[in-house]
């Protein structure tokens, strides 16, 4: 599945033009990206949480040469799936 499939779903269900559907899907993802860029966490109930984590610098190794290198501190994005999503993948009835 790609963004085009999501746009198609919005087009079919929301009564928008193709262009409007594409714009709104882009807006949803862009808004999420802006939030994460500010370092804030996003919680989508029924799907999962996107969390920005601070990683301290550490010493790593180039696996090819074996040489030690310093990996600089950085902010990374992690996704924690919700129980609802995990259950859906394992055929667990949400009503149960």
């Amino acid at each position: 599945m790609t963004k085009a499939d999501l746009i198609e779903s919005v087009y079919v269900q929301a009564g928008f033009s193709k262009k409007e559907a594409a714009d709104v899907v882009d807006l949803v993802f862009e808004t999420i990206k802006e939030t994460l860029e500010r370092g804030e966490k996003i919680k989508i109930s029924g799907f999962g949480n996107f969390v920005v984590r601070e990683k301290r610098s550490r010493v790593g190794r180039n696996p090819q040469t074996g040489r030690e290198i310093t990996i600089s501190e950085r902010r990374v994005l992690t996704f924690k799936p919700s129980q609802v999503l995990k259950d859906a993948l394992n055929g667990v009835d949400p009503q149960a």
């Binding site: 599945m1 790609t2 963004k3 999501l6 929301a14 860029e37 919680k43």
Partner: protein, 118 residues
């Protein structure tokens, strides 16, 4: 249920929650979308956000991969059954295999989160 054993990650999470950790929820997201695009009512925005994540959830439930360019990709991995232990009694039990969702951040978002100007 008995008290859970000490877990650093749980404790850190609780500390962040006590500190009033700002989290943006689905309804905050809906509100921002309605503000940014005045043509869309809050109600419509809510329906669209719900539709997007429901479609994504159904896609992953079928075991299919999702790729949102500039954002990232979601995919499902299968984990085989393994021998586990009941942490309370120490009795060994078989943990069934299961399917687990994963997210890999896309290049643009990875760089933006890390403050690199893309």
């Amino acid at each position: 249920m008995a008290r859970r054993p000490f877990d650093l990650r749980t404790q850190q999470r609780q500390t962040r929650q006590r500190a009033g950790d700002p989290a943006v929820t689905k309804s905050d997201l809906v509100a921002s979308i309605a503000i940014k695009n005045p043509e869309i009512t809050k109600k419509t925005a809510e329906g669209i956000v719900r539709l997007i994540f429901e479609r994504m959830r159904d896609t992953l439930a079928r075991g299919e991969r999702i790729e949102i360019r500039g954002f990232g990709s979601f995919y499902v991995k299968s984990r085989g059954p393994r021998a586990g232990r009941n942490p309370k009694t120490g009795a060994s039990v078989t943990v069934e295999g299961k399917r687990v969702p994963y997210f890999k951040v896309g290049k643009d978002l990875r760089e933006r989160v890390n403050g690199e100007d893309a």
